[in-house]
């Protein structure tokens, strides 16, 4: 008993030490530091494409690195590959389990992955004459919330079992298991240099992980509910999170703390998804209230809104060249805006 008490005391002391160190570094916040920056222009984007084809709620979408093709996942039990320029469907992948929650496009364009309540991540080859399932990654004990390819041989997944896993696609086995969250992991984002990733979970924490040594390097707190969406800032030094607490936040990695919160008293819907414009200046955040709000990441002000969906915006994605933003919704449509 004595040892437990001692450990608890040490844990409390360390938490106090971390808070004090963060406070000491907190000589300003992002909005104050950006007070001299010219406001972002009022952003008025138009719907350029409405992609119709899914027969049920869309849960996820992901752009291919060619900035033209994209994959979407719906609980109608299909992955659809779209040519965003023409609006045509290029491929349809029937899923064994229709309870899909995530999809991903490999950087090479050769593979796509999906997963959900089946607790598995299934990887498909798009380049064989007939689309083939190449791997079923089966070791999570909870739903698959997000998947991201590092290459054609490695994929990262996050799960409702509170872990994230790095898989070897050649063997189909787990290479590294990232253990530290105490709530369902809901989302993940790879750093631009691919050496680390961040995860958001239902424990309201975001964590930064080293991909190679499997360690949790930093933990970011501040949200008061599940973190559903997360993305690295293009510079690699900050992350943006979106939560059921109706706010988005920016955490700076080197300052190890929250530097700005994106919120509005009139907004009382949870954030489901988010992505950033090419420079990081604009945050596109999808909400349960059917809208996608656009935030000035430096000044914390709302600068626009994408309205047009008839149900929750469940996924948001900006392609690598930053030319547009795609929103996917429970109304079964995807819209492309710029």
């Amino acid at each position: 008993m004595g040892e437990m008490e001692q450990m608890k005391k040490e844990a409390e002391a360390l938490k106090t030490q971390i808070e004090a160190a963060r406070k000491a570094a907190h000589d300003t916040d992002m909005a104050s530091a950006a007070s001299g920056v010219a406001p972002a222009p009022r952003v008025q984007l138009k719907t350029r494409r409405t992609l119709k084809g899914h027969l049920a709620k869309i849960y996820a979408m992901h752009w291919c690195t060619d900035n033209r093709l994209m994959v979407s996942a719906s609980q109608d039990g299909k992955l659809l590959i779209w040519d965003s320029h023409t609006g045509n469907k290029v491929n349809a992948v029937p899923l064994k389990s229709s309870w899909v929650m995530t999809c991903a496009y490999a950087p090479s364009g050769n593979l796509v992955a999906s997963g959900g309540l089946d607790n598995m991540c299934t990887v498909y080859n798009l380049k064989t004459p007939v689309i083939k399932t190449v791997k079923e990654l089966d070791a999570h004990t909870g739903y698959l919330s997000c998947a991201r390819f590092l290459s054609d041989t490695e994929i990262l997944t996050s799960s409702g079992d509170t872990t994230c896993v790095l898989w070897d696609l050649e063997t189909g086995k787990q290479k590294t298991v990232f253990l530290n969250h105490v709530g369902d992991c809901m989302c993940l984002s790879l750093s631009p240099d691919m050496n680390s990733f961040v995860s958001g979970a239902c424990d309201s924490l975001a964590k930064l992980w080293d991909i190679r040594d499997g360690q949790c390097k930093q933990t970011f707190q501040g949200h008061t509910s599940d973190i559903n969406a997360i993305s690295f800032y293009p510079s690699g030094n900050a992350i943006i999170t979106g939560s059921d607490d109706c706010t988005c936040k920016m955490y700076d990695i080197r300052a190890d703390q929250e530097v700005i919160s994106y919120q509005d008293a009139a907004l009382n819907s949870g954030v489901t998804s988010l992505d950033l414009s090419a420079s990081g200046r604009l945050i596109f955040a999808g909400y349960d209230d059917f809208n996608c709000n656009i935030w000035d990441s430096l000044k914390g002000e709302k600068v626009g809104v994408l309205s047009g969906h008839d149900n929750r915006v469940s996924c948001t994605g900006v392609p690598g060249d930053g030319m547009c933003v795609c929103t996917g919704s429970w109304d079964s449509f995807l819209k492309i805006w710029n």
Binding site: M7, E10, A33, H85, D252, S297
Partner: protein
């Protein structure tokens, strides 16, 4: 009972180790972090189509205006 306290202790040991690691990192001042973020954003602004606006001639999502010949 003893099993519970053993696993509770292991779990607590892991938490303390994690907290020690996180406490030991070097932190920079928010003013420096914010300045760097600002600089990055502003330097890349001209390469941000959604921020700058996409001219219709360069917009792959906008059909080029067709010419009517009479």
């Amino acid at each position: 009972m003893s099993n519970n306290s053993a696993s509770g202790l292991v779990s607590l040991q892991k938490s303390v180790k994690q907290l020690r690691n996180e406490a030991g990192i070097r932190r920079i001042k928010v003013s420096q972090a914010a300045a760097d973020l600002k600089t990055f954003c502003l330097q890349n602004a001209h390469k941000d189509p959604l921020l700058m606006g996409v001219p219709s001639s360069d917009n792959p999502f906008r059909p080029p205006k067709s010419c009517a010949l009479f």
